[in-house]
Symmetry: C2
């Protein structure tokens, strides 16, 4: 794996721009993966991330059971797999195998990293107080991995109806804004 350990204090910069995420979970039968756009940072350090999962989904059940997951960030060349993951259920489909994704063992959680994604953040569920109302899980990042060669990742940003915006140019404002 080309990914290297990444400082937890910088994790917010991975999620703030709003990329589509592939959320991987472990399960008794096999691991699963879903596509997710409804996520936000909640705190810098330790990094807390809030994610919304549909209540009927297999990933929802697996996340509730295992209490951990990996948030993987795909780039544009994986758009086919992102759409396939988003439009299928892991109940009948082994998504890792069918969509040619590589499950890589994590260091601190039971869910696997996705080898093809440039960034993967191992997370534990730390607050389920808003799961009943909104399917909103509060996750704490416990270990992060990023491919250091990817300095301007072409992340995917869903804009509805199966359309995606691909990350464009980066500008530096010199602001002290964290």
């Amino acid at each position: 794996m080309a990914k290297k350990s990444f400082p937890l204090g910088k994790v917010y910069g991975l999620f703030e721009p709003g990329p589509v995420i592939l959320l991987s979970t472990t399960g008794k039968k096999r691991p699963n993966v879903m596509a997710l756009s409804w996520q936000t940072m909640l705190d810098f350090e330790p990094p807390l991330i809030g994610c919304v999962l549909g209540g009927g989904s297999l990933s929802f059940k697996l996340l509730q059971a295992a209490k951990d997951c990996v948030l993987n960030i795909p780039t544009a060349e994986l758009v086919g797999q992102v759409v396939q993951c988003g439009n299928s259920s892991g109940v009948r489909t082994d998504k890792f195998r069918k969509f040619k994704l590589t499950a890589v063992p994590a260091e601190k959680v039971s869910a696997p990293l996705i080898g093809e994604c440039y960034a993967s953040v191992e997370c534990r569920v730390v607050d389920t107080g808003m799961v009943d109302a909104y399917g909103f899980f509060v996750l704490q990042a416990v270990k992060a991995w990023v491919d250091p060669q990817v300095t301007a990742p072409k992340t995917l940003h869903h804009i509805g109806d199966g359309r995606f915006m691909i990350a464009g140019e980066i500008i530096r404002t010199g602001s002290k804004m964290r």
Copy 2:
């Protein structure tokens, strides 16, 4: 104003890609505005949006008091104002006046729209259950406005340390994914 009424059922597509937002509030003295990247959709319709505001900020207090706000989405030409709004406090500064932003009366809430932003969504606070823990307000969109001439908005996406990714090209996958 070039913005027209926009269907509430399509509001999710404005926030899913993760743009920086200018959150405007009303106040006894004057309206205020802050820059915000920590937001997520929570439901499609009625559209629910979760936003994280720092507990010490003026906007936090104004939002708690008035129980409504407008989420305005700026595009790249406003990056200077976004940084200025993010690096100053409304306690001493009239940000609308100082940063040359136009406060336009909203239809359903007391907070003003920002005329220069291509999209503005009027919101009411509907759940404060996670405000103490995370500064996380649940907002319901009650009226949305978008400039119909802006079909591929060059939105700003903060990636940390004052750097922004500008929205790039749009691809259509033909997916039925909502």
